[in-house]
Symmetry: C2
Subunit: 337 residues, 2 copies
């Protein structure tokens, strides 16, 4: 049988309350006794029962992370970062992966006694989710909120800046025929990226030669590029709504024996690895994953612990331009400390 607080009390010759006190570092314990207790705990290999703790103090020490998929390298990186950040604060991470709210187990985790708080990653149905959390009184923090109404408890990604950086980069390369192949227009992030991009061109008296809308998928990029090639209207430069689209374009070009850059200057978005990994000269707008995780966790913990929440932040993605001479792997190396 695992030793309980009672065993520790008996062995140290003190009461359970005192043991509880040293356990929670709530002061008011004579140094000598604290040592006695700690000694007893060590000898017994005592570890407090978390269920009992949860029950007694109404907290679980668990934070839930809700996301729609794990097949996304930005998400993966965020999960990892959130995990580390939470661990640093003594919290556990519980995961809930569900593409829609109909999914079994989607709100399974969202019980006040299951988690102390939740982090919502790029929600697709936040309008149903958030009210439910509010109703249940579960603190939450959203990463990359879709609905502007939820700005306050969200960590926002500066998609406008990202799009702007992408556009500026292409302009500075001297291109004048620049296209944009975006994701679905019903996402706020899509629109933001696009607007930033347009702004950058406009500042230089340019307009995109076209804007096409698709889904965030390789298909979109592949099909579009195929079409452009067939119609002989490949632009000089292209800003893709995300890296999967860029990969699709890349595949189509490779199939046609074209190269990047040369036939096309391409800028992806989102992923630090995927896009640059594919082609040494592929530029991408990388999201600041660690910062995102850090802000989300900090904001959430503040709420949970009743501290004053930090003000909402907009984090800016960073344009990662690969040196044409550097081998592809060096980028990754730099980013894997």
């Amino acid at each position: 049988m695992k030793p309980s607080i009672f065993d520790v009390a008996k062995r140290s010759g003190l009461s359970v309350v005192t043991v509880s006190r040293v356990l929670n570092g709530s002061g008011n314990v004579r140094e000598k006794n604290r040592l006695k207790v700690q000694q007893a705990m060590k000898e017994l290999g005592y570890r407090p029962n978390s269920a009992a703790q949860s029950l007694a103090k109404g907290k679980t020490g668990v934070v839930g992370l809700l996301l729609s998929t794990l097949q996304d390298s930005v998400f993966d990186a965020i999960v990892k970062s959130v995990h580390d950040e939470l661990a640093g604060h003594g919290y556990f991470l519980a995961l809930s992966v569900s593409p829609s709210c109909r999914e079994p187990g989607s709100s399974f985790l969202m019980e006040k006694d299951r988690v102390d708080g939740m982090i919502i990653l790029s929600p697709t149905w936040e309008d149903e989710l958030i009210p439910e959390l509010e109703r249940k009184g579960i603190p939450y923090s959203i990463i990359d909120n879709q609905n502007p109404a939820y700005d306050l408890s969200a960590v926002q990604v500066g998609h406008y800046s990202g799009g702007y950086a992408a556009g500026k980069h292409l302009v500075e390369l001297g291109h004048e025929s620049i296209g944009h192949l975006s994701g679905p227009g019903n996402y706020k992030s899509t629109i933001d990226r696009q607007n930033g991009f347009l702004k950058a061109l406009a500042e230089n008296g340019l307009e995109p030669v076209f804007i096409e809308e698709g889904t965030y998928s390789m298909d979109t990029g592949y099909d579009a590029a195929k079409r452009w090639l067939a119609e002989g209207r490949l632009p000089e430069a292209l800003f893709c709504g995300d890296d999967y689209i860029a990969v699709g374009v890349l595949n189509a070009l490779q199939e046609a024996g074209r190269s990047i850059p040369g036939d096309l200057s391409l800028v992806g978005y989102d992923d630090q690895n995927l896009a640059t990994l594919l082609h040494p000269k592929l530029t991408t707008v990388a999201q600041p994953v660690q910062q995102i995780a850090r802000c989300a966790v900090d904001g959430l913990l503040a709420q949970m612990e009743g501290r004053e929440a930090p003000p909402p932040i907009v984090l800016k993605p960073e344009l990662v331009v690969r040196e044409s001479t550097a081998p592809p792997h060096s980028y990754l190396k730099e980013n894997t400390p």
Copy 2:
């Protein structure tokens, strides 16, 4: 205040015990009363407090998954599958990501009262981990065990078969100059893959033109391929220890203006997406992620619930040969139901 079992009892005019009974489906409740109780629960929006449940019955309903990284598409896929599998059985997934046992929080989760069981994914320090789990009496199941001693509670991936399939494929393409660029030789999986590969060649009276050992990284592939090119000894075909290595080779070849296949037939390993995504003609040995997750969870639950554990299984990876005419994205499409 969240309604407690007591509120439900009062509202349904029955005792808490009866409510508890319908909650746990432990029979012995008059159908009429069961309905009453369920009605009351619905009206109150009652959800049992999990901490209290855990405390009372000594179970948490949580399964921990321990892995070394999330920057790995096979792992990601497994996490997702494990998550779904667990959810289907009413369990939660808690994640612990730590590259080493020294990491803070590595064994943080591994407390009997935190989790009912643990799944260990491709352990790198299982010799320290497993004894600890044994000592604590926590049921576990290992995916892709490293130490053969732990076969019994493990789901094994048939790396031998995988390597064999890779070798056979290259032989059947008619190659006679086949190389192998492996991962670290201190991994069981590395050796297994290599042995399977050698077997396939041997069956056809062939031997690899070389076997080189590296790490599971793009660097390994990149550096090696660079070297081969410089020395003018690029083989006709190459089996890479994993997809990252393959990607590295690919990058080096692309930089040198070479193509695949043609200059080289390349087989990667592990990932269903990464490698094939990179090149339409890149063949890969894909691990059966869903099966792996299913077996791991089934085996674990069997232990946890005292049922007879299913016999150890060796799951075979599958050779995925891409049609040279099919666009890269179609493969992904097929695998995204």
